[in-house]
Symmetry: C2
Subunit: 454 residues, 2 copies
């Protein structure tokens, strides 16, 4: 029991730059296209939605982008986040593997999302923006932008996917506590929302629909900008502080991962932990396996098509090449609301095409089972999204046991489950539904992909 | 914006001992009495309820008691906890005061309670105990003992005060996730509970009633022990790790408090932060003010009588001398369930009699107002209990502003409000009830105090 379980980096070791993986890739990802012309878009096309600083980060090819001091100041409230060795979990699993996890639940809103919410609010503030519209799934992103908005004095309007809005009322309360407004999506406050409701008044909503609503509000109001909590290059890049810290902490532990595991919805927490490790590998470092774990009910990487598609349901965004289930695909209302996105971050999709990662999918009940095993041994109850990463890590540890290998496994515990306890109650009472997506709906959504030559 | 806001003690600086304030007091607190004989009780009288190691801590006069390594091992998961300078709050209040807060919400269950849950479970484990019964108010203690039980392999049965059981379903889910059982109190599983229900089938419950139920279960079953989350000397002592760390962190900050503020229910988080500072003062250190903030609806220190009373409603416990509203007093069902106790820790009551602390009481709506001000500036939404400490600290800061003094204020932010968000929703919608206690009920409860010569 005397061995260290926590690796805490001193504040002075907190990374000073975000890491841009594009700089190390053998080839850049395909361009973003204008849906009307089919031609690559430029920074000016995005100007109605984002401040120019973020747009330039989106298209940057620089390896490192400096984190502004006012952002570092706020990061320091909870960063560097701890890296733990899961010794008690290892004992319970009786595995020869060593399991480490990076814990992002220490942030004010309990997930990795403030890592990008804070800089996004900062750059908007610098650009004089007074109001931002956004979407949220389970509410981790919405509450994080609400937190960042309250610090920088920016009003935040959040469209929250309806099924999560109903499942997780405490997230709404948190957003309101930070002074933000929170509207169930689809709503009757936008054309996009009204169109969905006209077709299905009982729509569960989806991230694709909520994005449409928020983008519409920003596009139609000169004084409102838009912010996205995942998918885009600059968002993923802001999260790379996670993996950069983890590299230093694994060094403190005198170890290095053989496998890095993360859960994937839009892809931001996954990118955050794996991009810096993949970067080291691309620059000649140790060869590692990178495992993306996604929900079987929204299996973008394992069942999606790598194609140009819209980022939203109402087709207000540019076209991006990604693994997609089709922008009209609405996944069942499972509890990991942060993973209910029809597409995958283009950068992660590109990495999969380059064979730099593996993907696997699990149903939510088996993920909750893993989450409870983890919670009872490590004391932290993960968010439903993070349970997918826990499941992935446990599967790797059990494989090591079968194979008699003492590999080193690192996973990203991207958030705690304090706002998701109804899901645990449902799980224990056997009421956690494990509905699959409808194969016919998926086929239809894929058939409806835009035809773009690229 | 460049100034440090977080003081993080290295793990090597984590205190190795708990601090026992009795060693520094000019006189010890009055003895605990047997209700039948009126004579002081001895360790053996407590043996049916607690393992002997804890009983010996309860009556110890040693200044320092070593923290066992297996306990330190688990503490290290989240300790030393951070100390923050609340610079953004200072700006919002426009005060010349410097405000610091020690943040205990970083523990696995989000409050200070694991500081004592872990050693209590450890000593029970050492004594071969397989099952523990306990009570909980808002659920912070119950979930913390559930966490500790899951680590040491001890079954935990929690009697949760009914009003909180209904207000905070996520706390129950958390206890169950850690493998504990959680029963609403008063319940029909004990004689104590049945008696209360016979009188009032709609009883809100109270900590005094829940304690009766848990003590009854332990007293009637040889193989079940009892554990208490506050009030007792050994429990308060386990919390002194908070204040000991804070002393070192204030030194890192090159500062020392003029005022230390905490909220008081049973008294454990308050004792945790203030005892080590009071100890320094008693040993000739700087003179400080110590402020206890309690709910106006359960005002033990400001309205209670200093007298011998039972710790529980059904009169199963020994008699302790404390500030009490009477063991039959049932406070209104406000949201800070951890503060709904009819008595105050005997050691804290004793300190008040020695003029070592001041007490003040506030209504919950004004405390939530302070909590929201704090949350919007500092990014952390406090538990309803902790909002009382926030309110107390803000009042001190505003006094400094009026008086033009730049005093240093330190308060204990004993837990986050993630499991209490319904209270914030109620606050924002104007539905947070601020019922006072019934003066007549209080008079009756006080009239019913046991007559003991001591």
């Amino acid at each position: 029991m005397n061995d260290t379980v926590k690796y805490f980096l001193p504040e002075s070791e907190m990374p000073k730059n975000w890491y841009n993986i594009v700089a190390d890739l053998p080839q850049p990802p395909p361009p973003v296209l204008h849906p009307g012309t089919g031609q690559p878009i430029g920074p000016d096309d995005l100007a109605p939605l984002f401040p120019m600083d973020l747009i330039l980060q989106e298209v940057s090819a620089e390896r490192e982008i400096e984190i502004p001091e006012p952002v570092r100041e706020i990061y320091r409230q909870w960063r560097p986040s701890p890296l733990y060795r899961a010794r008690r979990l290892e004992q319970v699993l009786d595995t020869p593997a060593k399991i480490y996890y990076k814990y992002e639940g220490v942030s004010p809103t309990g997930s990795h999302k403030p890592n990008t919410a804070v800089p996004q609010a900062f750059y908007n503030k610098e650009a004089g923006v007074k109001r931002i519209a956004t979407e949220t799934g389970a509410g981790q992103w919405g509450s994080s932008l609400a937190f960042a908005g309250s610090i920088f004095g920016i009003a935040i309007d959040v469209f929250m996917v309806r099924v999560s809005f109903n499942q997780k009322p405490y997230r709404k309360a948190m957003m309101e506590s930070f002074g933000a407004s929170c509207i169930a999506s689809p709503s009757d406050t936008t054309q996009s929302g009204k169109a969905i409701l006209a077709e299905n008044p009982n729509s569960n909503g989806s991230l694709g629909i909520a994005i449409s609503e928020a983008v519409e509000v920003a596009a139609q109001n000169d004084d409102i900008k838009y912010a996205l909590g995942s998918v885009l290059n600059h968002v993923l890049m802001h999260q790379t502080i996670i993996g950069q810290e983890a590299i230093k902490q694994m060094e403190m532990a005198g170890d290095y991962p053989d496998v890095v595991v993360g859960c994937t919805g839009g892809g931001s927490n996954f990118a955050g932990i794996v991009f810096p490790f993949i970067g080291e590998m691309l620059r000649g470092g140790s060869k590692i396996r990178v495992v993306a774990v996604e929900p079987a009910a929204c299996p973008t990487l394992t069942r999606g098509k790598y194609a140009y598609d819209f980022g939203d349901t109402a087709h207000l965004t540019p076209l991006v090449k990604m693994h997609t289930l089709g922008s009209t695909f609405v996944p069942p209302g499972f509890h990991a609301g942060g993973l209910r996105y029809h597409g995958m971050a283009p950068m992660i999709s590109h990495l999969q095409e380059l064979d730099l990662l593996e993907a696997t999918a699990y149903h939510q009940n088996t993920c909750f089972e893993s989450g409870v095993t983890f919670g009872r041994s490590e004391g932290i109850l993960p968010a439903p999204e993070a349970n997918h990463a826990v499941k992935g890590a446990i599967e790797e540890a059990l494989r090591c046991k079968r194979e008699g290998k003492s590999e080193t496994i690192l996973f990203n515990l991207c958030g705690h489950g304090h706002f998701d306890m109804q899901a645990y109650t449902d799980y224990f009472s056997g009421n956690l539904e494990d509905r699959n997506y409808d194969e016919q709906e998926l086929a239809m959504a894929l058939a409806g992909l835009p035809s773009v030559a690229a």
